[in-house]
């Protein structure tokens, strides 16, 4: 349960992050962060090494070449649900992981987040490959449309 709660807090926080995160290194464009990146009053900070060891290897700071993973921490932001802080791992310009460093503890509020904030990062465009999916639900395709469909790619890839 705690895990699910963390997830939903993380994603509620993701939105906040998009507005408040300002990569400390500011070495280059970070397209995923979007237009809100430079506009917030908050300044970002390098996050502490997370306890989670499954993250991409050898995160490095500002000089990371494109393709290497790097972690960027956001400031603690007071949301209506309580203080939230997240850290994203970027591989090139893509967010490849989100870790929650701080999230609201109240269970009632967690439930509120669950019911009011569907993980927005889950909603962001995801490629079938990175999402490791088994099947696709979508508007019914024609036999011709199938050829261009993600489902067709899955059927071929694992056939």
């Amino acid at each position: 349960m705690r895990r699910a709660v963390v997830t939903s807090a993380a994603t509620a926080a993701g939105v906040v992050l998009l507005l408040s995160l300002k990569p400390h290194e500011a070495a280059g464009p970070v397209p995923v962060i979007g237009s809100g990146a430079g506009s917030g009053a908050a300044s970002g900070s390098e996050a502490p090494e997370p306890s989670n060891t499954s993250a991409s290897p050898a995160p490095s700071a500002s000089a990371a070449p494109a393709g290497a993973a790097r972690k960027v921490g956001g400031d603690t932001v007071n949301t209506r649900y309580g203080p939230v802080q997240v850290q994203v791992t970027l591989t090139g310009s893509r967010i490849t992981a989100v870790d929650v460093l701080k999230y609201p503890a109240s269970e009632r509020r967690d439930r509120e987040i669950n019911t009011t904030a569907l993980p927005l990062l889950n909603q962001e465009a995801i490629s079938a490959q990175s999402a490791a999916i088994d099947v696709v639900s979508g508007a019914t395709y024609t036999s011709d449309g199938y050829i261009r469909s993600l489902q067709s790619a899955l059927d071929r890839a694992k056939g």
């Binding site: 963390v6 997830t7 569907l118 639900s137 469909s149 489902q151």
Partner: protein, 258 residues
Amino acid sequence: MLRHAEPVMGTVFSVVVRDPGPGTAAALDRIVERLHRIDAVFSTYRPDSDISRLDRGELALADCDPDVPAVLAACREVATETDGWFTERPGGRLDPSGWVKGWAVEEAAALLRSSGARQYCVSGGGDVQTGGGPWRIGVADPGRPGLLTAVLAGHGLAVATSGTAERGAHVLDPHTGRPALGFASLTLVGAPGTGIARTDAWATAAFAMGPDRALAWVARRPGVEALAVLPDGSKRWTPGLPGHLPAAGPADWRSAVR
């Protein structure tokens, strides 16, 4: 792992079995045969189907394939459940497709189950029934072909999506006869016990209702949740939907991204 894709009913059915056994290949043969039989009986594109002949008055209901009265009875049930937002006569012509495709997926799943399979996934053109699990089900992004707008995960789920991305505005409001335009796509998730036939038919009905009425209607129904993508790209969902998101959430993308 056994996979099969079968073009039938104007789309493609995809079958995956994670635990194939000695009976699986034969079950697959029966599924293919059954799907083509359902198409022959129910297709509105074939002038010689039972449904076409029944609609033209050339065939009595009693002389139709026995599946026909059963399907029409199911359609009337769904019409009642949805306060008339589902009809087997969209646009005036007899066309129970809103039930038939999901039901065909459910029939295929039943054949797999009776063959001994417990870990399977059947998709009929984007309407999905899973058995066992967990299965990860991507929801197509209606605005960006080739990308997903969400990932769902669970055991024994049914997932149906109605939308305008593939076939245009084809869902008609049964009350006005005009195309329903309130959603870019609407996905319904049926918990175990709510099969894909009902989930799919409800998705068609809810699509016709438009966002406000549809989300309120789905939220009142036990065993089903909704994720809506509106024409402006924004999303709405019922309170129980997050329960169908992967347990590890976005952070588990890491495992596939490396």
